[in-house]
């Protein structure tokens, strides 16, 4: 980079970054503002609430529906993430390290699943789940979440596995490890950034999904937060539940932010530095 252009460059990227940040966060700030306004002030057209109140948050948690939905969301998203990442880890390792027939086919098939529009399977899935007794259950949501996140997880993880020198697996084998021990003690720790990246992606998908949750659940047994929010009602039928929706939205954003913050610290690039030279 030329020294003359570097200041301009920095300025350009800073300003661009700021613009995107404001554009993305403005609605979030608005929702936060709404959730903190007393019911009477909801339509006062002020961005900054004149008076702070937690009444919407209280309202949301008094109703039995919302805590149940939060519990469902956490459970379903966590289990989907764990299973999906675990399966993807084995699949990606095999694809990267083993030469077997149909390697390309598996990767291609995975990609085609990712391109498949989920809307197209909702109808059949609804009927199928009712027949199989999976309708309105946790597995009923976990299964489609895994299906639609596995391809992404496999692709992410195989990119990370490919970066790990093959000599490390071999060294571990010669050092007395079984293939599984070599994978667990050497490969997985080194692929940790990839594992966490994949986990975040899967978790966010499962946490935010509205389509499957709305179509495949009907009660507090398995309804997740995005679906539950849609079923909020106001205190009378003339009142929109704007405040409650805003408060619930803020509450469900918190775990995602937490997950990203926690995992982000683990995504340190260059963890493989020093493994091999040359």
């Amino acid at each position: 980079m030329k020294p003359g252009s570097s200041l301009l460059d920095t300025l350009f990227w800073r300003a661009g970054g700021l613009l995107v940040l404001v554009y993305a966060l403005l609605p979030v700030a608005w929702i936060l503002s709404l959730s903190l306004k007393p019911a009477a002030d909801l339509n006062d057209k002020h961005f900054v609430p004149g008076e702070l109140s937690l009444e919407h948050y209280q309202a949301v948690f008094v109703d039995a529906q919302f805590p149940a939905a939060v519990w469902n969301s956490i459970g379903i998203a966590a289990i989907s993430t764990a299973l999906s990442v675990l399966l993807a880890m084995f699949a990606a390792y095999a694809i990267v390290r083993l030469r077997f027939r149909g390697r390309a086919l598996i990767l291609g098939a995975a990609l085609s699943i990712a391109m498949f529009p989920p809307v197209a399977v909702i109808g059949p899935l609804f009927n199928l789940w009712r027949t199989l007794g999976l309708y309105d259950t946790w597995p009923g949501l976990i299964l489609p979440y895994m299906t639609f996140t596995l391809p992404l997880a496999i692709w992410t993880l195989s990119a990370f596995f490919r970066e790990i020198p093959w000599d490390l697996d071999k060294a571990a084998r010669v050092d007395g490890a079984t293939p599984l021990q070599a994978f667990r003690h050497v490969i997985v720790p080194l692929a940790a950034p990839g594992v966490f990246t994949a986990a975040i992606l899967v978790f966010i998908f499962a946490w935010n999904d509205f389509l499957f949750a709305a179509a495949l659940t009907s009660t507090n047994d398995a309804r997740t937060v995005p679906a539950a929010i849609a079923f909020f009602t106001g205190s009378s039928r003339f009142e929109l539940p704007t405040g409650s929706i805003a408060a619930a939205s803020v509450v469900v954003t918190v775990p995602v932010i937490l997950v990203v913050l926690v995992f982000q610290r683990r995504i340190v690039a260059g963890l493989t530095a020093g493994a091999v030279k040359g």
Binding site: R99, P165, D167, L168, K170, A171, A172, R173, V174, D175, G176, A177, T178, Q181, H185, V186, P189, L190, L271, T272, A273, G274, A275, V276, K277, G278
Partner: protein, 386 residues
């Protein structure tokens, strides 16, 4: 500690590459055995077969008399040092060295004791809590070695362990490795493509070419009595000079001069042999002005003079036919063979010789020091002499 026997070992990869041709080899208990050969000749493959990372296509491996051909690497109790060192980057030096012991389920006290012992031998004491990324090349090499010795394995397998180090450190580590091996007395197979390393380190050396063992012997045997033109050209630095020659009665006609056929050779060659390749080590030339009455004096046009303190190397050209087997060999060995119609030769003369670049120097050839090779097969014609 164990003797390693390779019995008709052969390796053909799925794509048809014949990396190792049927090979018999015995590596004696406790010796430092060197596998040397140019790049791609199958050294690493042979090593991986011994350690169990590759399965041979045919043949049997026996360690201490026990067949281990199909055994998993983890059950062979051998330690390998990779060219890349393959240290585990997420573990400290201590954890790296303790890893094989943990897998072997040793108790923590024993593990700590063994790591400490290895760290002392290799002078890694202060580095135990560092990660590999924070180590220099030589230190990484020592950690890799440490990870191998903590296990008290049946054998060490080292795949070009020094090739990632700079020249000075390489020489230093070479001596250290040899000393360590003698001290531990563990059977060691050492792979290198560097003939100097092979010559200075090994008890015995096997020279490999295109998956085939050319000769096994002590450094002295390989140098003085190479089995064929490949070994002769590969071993020694600067490399042996090769010139095409003709036998006429009891005289040997070289492109630049004639010398009497060595006594040892007379009568040993079949009458039909006329065309041969003659190998002359640089030290078998002498400065004619310094030694009275030597054979085959000729005048060499000096091109380059290299003065190395104790030695003086003189590079000169001779006019000769350069094609055929000789040219092919020189290409394979990546020797500076000169250009069409001219052969580049090197002579070592005493530092008191008066030579000048561009000048002429009278040289003669020691008839007893030349080696004869078959012009077609490259095999030695005068086995037993020299």
């Amino acid at each position: 500690m164990a003797e390693i026997v390779l019995d008709r070992i052969e390796k053909r990869f799925a794509d048809g590459t014949q990396a190792v041709r049927p090979t018999d080899l015995t590596i004696r208990d406790g010796e430092l055995f060197i596998l040397v050969g140019p790049s791609g000749c199958g050294k690493s493959t042979l090593l991986k077969i011994i350690v169990g990372l590759e399965r041979p296509t045919a043949g049997e491996i026996r360690v201490a008399g026990e067949a281990v051909t199909g055994r998993d690497p983890k059950d062979r109790n051998m330690a390998m040092v990779f060219q890349s060192y393959a240290l585990y980057p997420h573990m400290t030096v201590r954890e790296n060295m303790a890893f094989p012991l943990k897998l072997a389920k040793l108790n923590p006290a024993e593990i700590a004791a063994r790591v400490k012992e290895a760290a002392e031998i290799l002078e890694l004491g202060e580095l135990l809590e560092r990660k590999p990324a924070a180590l220099s090349g030589g230190q990484r090499q020592r950690v890799a070695m440490g990870r191998a010795i903590v296990r008290h394995p049946a054998a060490f397998l080292l795949d070009e362990p020094l090739s990632n180090l700079d020249a000075k450190l390489r020489v230093q580590m070479r001596t250290e490795l040899a000393r360590l091996q003698r001290r531990l007395g563990t059977t060691t197979v050492y792979v290198t493509h560097d003939q100097t390393e092979a010559m200075t380190l090994g008890d015995r050396i096997a020279v490999l070419r295109k998956g085939e063992i050319q000769q096994v012997g002590s450094p002295r045997e390989l140098y003085q009595c190479p089995a064929n033109i490949f070994v002769a050209g590969f071993i020694g630095s600067p490399a042996m000079n090769f010139v095409p020659a003709e036998i006429d009665g009891d005289r040997l006609i070289l492109p630049m001069t004639e010398i009497p056929l060595p006594d040892a050779l007379r009568g040993r060659l079949s009458a039909r042999t006329r065309e041969v390749i003659v190998g002359i080590r640089p030290e078998r030339f002498t400065d004619a002005a310094r030694s009275g009455g030597c054979a085959g004096v000729f005048s060499a046009g000096v091109e380059v003079v290299e003065w190395l303190g104790a030695d003086l190397y003189v590079h000169f050209d001779v006019r000769a036919h350069t094609g055929g087997r000789l040219g092919a060999l020189q290409q394979e060995l990546e020797l500076d063979a000169g250009h069409a119609g001219r052969l580049r030769l090197v002579a070592r003369v005493g530092t008191d010789s008066r030579v000048q670049e561009g000048g002429a120097l009278g040289l003669c050839v020691d008839p007893g020091g030349v080696l004869l090779f078959d012009a077609e097969t490259g095999g030695r014609l005068d086995t037993g002499s020299a």
